[in-house]
């Protein structure tokens, strides 16, 4: 597990370094993910250890968002009065956006071979 964790952190560091040097606004971990993806491609797959650790981390992804989610209940009073707008944007906006992107993805993939 330790080795696998080192691999993940090293690729994150690699990503952060690249982002810092090239001054691109993309977060380091996302670049790290792309770099590891390429590395896995060259190496032809992840070790059992790395697969296990990443599966563990990903299965608890929601936990990592929990503290930030709690923040929505502790907004400053100047924001609190706008909660209907915030809620409307989150529910209606997300719903419409999902319908739109789903229809778009379906249309695009259907045209490309009809295996949708």
């Amino acid at each position: 597990m330790l080795k696998a964790f080192i691999v993940l952190l090293l690729f994150q560091l690699l990503g952060e370094t690249l982002v810092g040097l090239a001054r691109i606004p993309i977060p380091g971990p996302v670049i790290g993910m792309l770099l590891l993806w390429i590395a896995l491609h060259i190496k032809n797959g992840a070790s059992a250890e790395l697969s296990q650790l990443s599966q563990n981390l990903i299965s608890h992804l929601s936990l990592l968002f929990l503290p930030a989610g709690v923040g929505l209940f502790f907004l400053p009073p100047s924001i609190q009065k706008y909660w209907p707008a915030v809620l409307g944007a989150m529910v209606v906006g997300t719903f419409l956006s999902m319908l739109f992107s789903g229809a778009l993805a379906k249309g695009l993939s259907g045209r490309k071979g009809g295996e949708g």
Partner: protein, 242 residues
Amino acid sequence: MNELLHHAQQFWLGLQHKPLFGLLLSLCVYQLALMLYQYFNRRVILHPVTTGSIVIALILNGLDISYRDYLNGNQLLYFLLGPATVALAIPLHQQFHNIRKLMLPVLITVAVGAVFAPAIAVGVAAIMGGSDEVLLALYPKSVTTPIALGIADIIGALPGLTTGVVVFTGVIGSLLSPVVFYLLKLHDPRLQGIVLGLNAHGVGTARGFEINPTVGAFASLAMGLTGAFTALIMPYAVQMIN
């Protein structure tokens, strides 16, 4: 006796400000919320982030602990978002044969969808009378928290509101996904993954892995691409609009 009580009180006050308390609170409440979620066959309405954050908010209020102290205690969880994002490379690699076939539709959907998602959200909030502060925080609502925080910083949005909106957009997106899939007759796990990752980022991706590995991998891909694309164009777009 009085001295003992005083001592206990001091001890409790000290404990509140230590990371141990906030982190343990998150882990315990999340574990219970997860058990509840699993007991009810993973009904999205009982998403552990929803039930968990409500319970934690109530506990913090009841014990009179500030959100800032609680958040400081949870730096470790926030830090783990980094390696967890990198870890998404593994399912991406495992599903590569699937992804290669759909690369072009994925790219186009993400590029268009990543513009549409914030536009419609900001539009709805503007119609409902949201202030400029609120509108700003909604721009990065569909990208994963670390990216959203980076964007919020650049465009000058409130970080607390931004992360809260992002997380609950993820929960709401996961919650609405069965309805959306039903309405669009979207049965292809690859396309379901794209919709989840694009609109509900990490929370939707976690939900995707619960459905099956293909949905999860496509959600990871769409999440990563949406995040990267949004991070690249959003600061310029907001500057142009305002």
